[in-house]
Subunit: 440 residues, 2 copies
C-alpha cells in the first residue's frame, strides 16, 4: 500500500481520443512532425481580475510518470483501444521534448501562453488531458485562494475543505491554496506529500462524546495543553467560553466559532474573553467562509480564518477554461514550423504560432500590459519575459519548492494595479496586447 501521492503511472489519465489520434497519425506518418502545443485560456471566470498559475510542479511529476505499464498495455490491447503498432509505440513512450511556461504562482490573463509543449505530435498530443486536468483544477483553486488571502490581509487563513472535495483533489487544493498564501491545511496527506503545515484540534463530536462540555474541554487540555483551540459552539456559546477559561486558565490558546453570525459573536466572545482576563486567547472563525465573508469580518476581532467548501470549489469557479491547442507544426521533416489555428465560424478559434509573453511595467513598476507575440522579442521587453524552462529534451529542469512559488505569487500579485484585489466583478486588471508579429 503506497500513499495516494506516491509514484504511479499517469498514462491512462488520458482521453481515449489522444491515443486514437496517435494511432491514425502513426499510420499517416504525420505523428513524427515536430509540433508546438500551447495551454491558454480565452477568458477568466466571470468578473475575475487575474488568474493564478498553479499545478506546474504536479504537471512535471505527471510528465515524468507518464509511462505505460504492462497491465495498462494489456488492457488497451484487450479492449482494442489501439492497434499493435500503437501499443509498441506506447510501451516505449517517454516525453523527449521541451516544455516552457509561466512558473507556478505567477498571475495570468486571457491569452497568456501558460505552457508551451514542443516535441513530435506523437509525444506531445497525448499529454493533453493530464496537463489540463492539473492546471485547470489547481489554478482554479489558487485563484480563489488568492482572493481570500488578499481579503484576510495579515490574518492567517487555514484550508479545511478536504471533506467537500474528491479526496485526491483535496490534497491538490491544499497545495494550490498554500501557493496562494494560505498558512496551513487540515489535510494530513497534503502535509505528508507536500510538506504543507497541518493544523486542527477538535470537532463537535468530541464535545458530544463526553458527558459534559467541561469533561471534553478538560480532556482536550490534558491531551494538547493550554495552547490548544477549544470549539465553543456545541451548546451555549457564552457558557462554553466561561468553561473554557475556567478549565484552561487565561493562557488558553484560542477558541473556535463554527456557526452563527460570526461578526456579532466574535465581538461578544472577545469582550467575554477580555473580561475573563484571557486577553491573549485568539478567536478563530470557520463557518462557510469565502472571500466576501472574510472581507466582511475585517473589522471584527478575529485572529484567523478557516475556509472549507468555498476554497475547494474555487469560490463559484471550480475549474478554469484552459485549453491545449496545436499552434504550429512542421510540414516536412526538419522544415520550418508552420502556424496553425482552428478558424471555423462557430467560435473557439485559436492563434497560431509559438509565442513568447512579457508583462510590461509602467514607470512605477506596476504591471500595465500582458504582451504576447510570435516574432522576435522587442528589446525593451526582454527583461520582462514570463516563460521559464520546465523540461529540456525530456529532462525536468523546472522543479522548485512550494515556498518559492508562494513567494512568487505574493510578489506577482503585489505588482498588479491595486484594483486587482477588489472583490467586486470587473475586467482583467491589465490588458493582453498582441505584439505585431515580425516577419519570420
Amino acid at each position: 500500500m503506497d500513499a495516494i501521492t506516491a509514484h504511479r503511472s499517469t498514462a491512462l489519465l488520458t482521453d481515449r481520443y489522444e491515443l486514437t489520434m496517435l494511432q491514425a497519425a502513426l499510420r499517416s506518418g504525420a505523428a513524427h512532425r515536430r509540433s508546438v502545443f500551447e495551454v491558454f485560456t480565452r477568458r477568466l471566470p466571470d468578473g475575475r481580475r487575474y488568474g493564478v498559475v498553479a499545478g506546474t510542479g504536479r504537471v512535471l511529476d505527471a510528465v515524468a510518470d507518464f509511462r505505460f505499464t504492462t497491465p495498462q498495455l494489456d488492457w488497451l490491447a484487450d479492449r482494442n483501444v489501439v492497434d499493435d503498432a500503437t501499443l509498441r509505440h506506447l510501451a516505449d513512450y517517454r516525453f523527449t521534448g521541451d516544455i516552457h511556461g509561466y512558473p507556478e504562482g505567477e498571475v495570468y490573463f486571457p491569452g497568456s501562453p501558460l505552457l508551451t509543449v514542443e516535441g513530435t505530435f506523437a509525444e506531445a498530443v497525448i499529454l493533453e488531458t493530464v496537463i489540463l486536468s492539473i492546471l485547470n483544477h489547481d489554478s482554479a483553486i489558487a485563484a480563489a485562494a488568492s482572493r481570500m488571502t488578499a481579503a484576510a490581509g495579515d490574518r492567517p487563513v487555514i484550508e479545511m475543505g478536504a471533506r467537500r472535495a474528491h479526496e485526491g483533489a483535496a490534497v491538490a487544493a491544499a497545495r494550490a491554496a498554500y501557493i496562494a498564501g494560505f498558512s496551513a491545511t487540515s489535510d494530513l496527506e497534503a502535509g505528508f506529500a507536500f510538506g504543507i503545515p497541518t493544523t486542527g484540534t477538535a470537532a463537535h463530536a468530541f464535545t458530544l462524546l463526553h458527558d459534559t462540555e467541561r469533561d471534553a474541554f478538560t480532556a482536550q487540555i490534558d491531551s494538547m495543553g493550554r495552547g490548544t483551540t477549544l470549539l465553543v459552539d456545541t451548546y451555549d456559546l457564552a457558557e462554553a467560553v466561561r468553561t473554557a477559561v475556567e478549565v484552561a486558565g487565561p493562557t488558553l490558546g484560542a477558541v473556535r466559532i463554527d456557526s452563527g453570525d460570526l461578526t456579532l459573536l466574535a465581538h461578544r466572545v472577545r469582550r467575554q474573553l477580555d473580561d475573563l482576563g484571557a486577553h491573549k486567547t485568539k478567536i478563530i472563525v470557520t463557518s462557510d467562509l469565502d472571500e466576501y465573508a472574510i472581507a466582511a469580518l475585517a473589522a471584527a476581532p478575529v485572529d484567523g480564518y478557516g475556509v472549507g467548501t468555498s476554497l475547494v470549489t474555487g469560490s463559484g469557479h471550480p475549474t478554469c477554461a484552459m485549453v491545449y491547442k496545436l499552434v504550429a507544426r512542421e510540414s516536412v521533416p526538419g522544415g520550418p514550423l508552420v502556424p496553425v489555428a482552428k478558424r471555423s465560424a462557430g467560435g473557439k478559434s485559436s492563434v497560431g504560432g509559438r509565442k513568447w509573453a512579457a508583462r510590461r511595467p509602467d514607470a512605477d513598476g506596476i504591471a500595465e500590459a500582458e504582451v504576447v507575440g510570435t516574432g522576435p522579442v522587442p528589446a525593451e521587453l526582454e527583461r520582462h519575459l514570463l516563460h521559464v524552462p520546465l523540461v529540456r529534451a525530456g529532462e525536468i529542469v523546472g522543479r522548485e519548492s512550494l515556498d518559492a512559488a508562494r513567494e512568487r505569487h505574493l510578489r506577482a500579485r503585489a505588482s498588479l494595479p491595486l484594483s486587482a484585489t477588489q472583490l467586486s466583478k470587473g475586467e482583467p486588471v491589465i490588458v493582453t496586447e498582441t505584439a505585431r508579429p515580425a516577419a519570420d
Copy 2:
C-alpha cells in the same frame, strides 16, 4: 508504478483534528465508547429536486484501505501530530464496526440518513474526512449527471470532462456519471479501473496536424474505419461534411460538431448528410453542454451528447453539503446508546439517535415521502426501508457491480413524482417526515 487507483493507504486523507480528537479521547477513556455517526445533509443544492447517492463503492474500498503505513506513522511522529500512545493505536488500526446506508444509485432528500457508521468512537471518528470527501464529490456529480440523462431521454450521453477536473476526481466523476445513466466516458483510467465503456476518436489538433482536412479525414478513416466519428468544425463546416462523406462514403459512422449554435448547425448538417445519401450517419454534439442545453436540443436531429465541464463541476453544484455527525454514544461501557446533538443557537443543529429511513409509496407506487425515525419501524414501512448492510464487524458485505447501481438509479428516479426531472428550480420532490420516536 501502480495505476492511480491501485491499492494504497487512505489513512492520511484525513483532517488532522480527527487524530488529535482520538489522542485526547484515548487519554480521557471516552475513545472506547460505542458510537454512532450519521452522514446526512440538511439541504439539497438550491432548487434541486432530488439527490443521488454515489461513491458508496469507493467508500468501501477506502475503509478497507484505511491502514497506517510505516512511512505515514513515522511522519506523524516526526511532526508531533499525535503522541506515542496514539501512534501505537493507529499502527493496529482497522475498522471493526458496522456500516449501513443507502445503496449506491439510490436517490435522497434533506435529512435522509445516508450512511450510519457504528463502532467505538476511536475507530469511527477518523473515517469522517475520507467518507465525506468521496460521498460529497461523487454524489454531486451523479446528481448533475442524472438531470442530464433525464433531459437526454433515449439519446446516449458521453462523459468527457477529464480535462476540466482534478485528474483523480475525473475518474470518480466518470464513475458517478455512469451510475446516473451516462453511456460512456472519454477517460481511459475510468475504463481501466472501473470497466466503464470508453469512447473517442479525434480532436481539432488531428486536422491541424495534416496539410489538409481531406488528408486528416483520410488518415482517420484508414486507421479507424468508416464507422468512426469525424470532427467537422475545424475550418468550414459545410465543406468538412462534404469532404467527410466523399472520403468515408455514405456509411460514415458519425460527425461531431464542437462549436457554434448547435441546434441550427445540427439541422443544417442533417440536411446536408441526407442530401449526400448519408442517412445513417449520426450527429454528435459536444460544446459546453449542460442539462439545459441538452433539453433545448431535444427537437434537433442529434444522436448523442458529449458533456464535459458542466458534468465534472456538478452543473453549478460541485459538492454536496453532507456532514458526518455523532448522533449517539454510550455513557457507560455496554450501556445503552444515548442520543446526542449539537444545539447551539448558531445553526448547524443535528438530530440525535440512530435512524432508520423508508420511502413511502402512494397507492400507485409513486414515492410520496421519505420517512426517517429513531424508534421501531412501523409495520407498513418495513418493506420500504432504504438501508442495506455495507460493512459487518469490519467485513465488507456491500460490494456490488456498477451496473447494479446504475439500474437502481434508473428505477429510483422513475419511482419519483414526474416533477422530479423538471429542470427548473423547485423544492425537493417529496417531503422528509420524521416518524414520532417511540419510547426507547
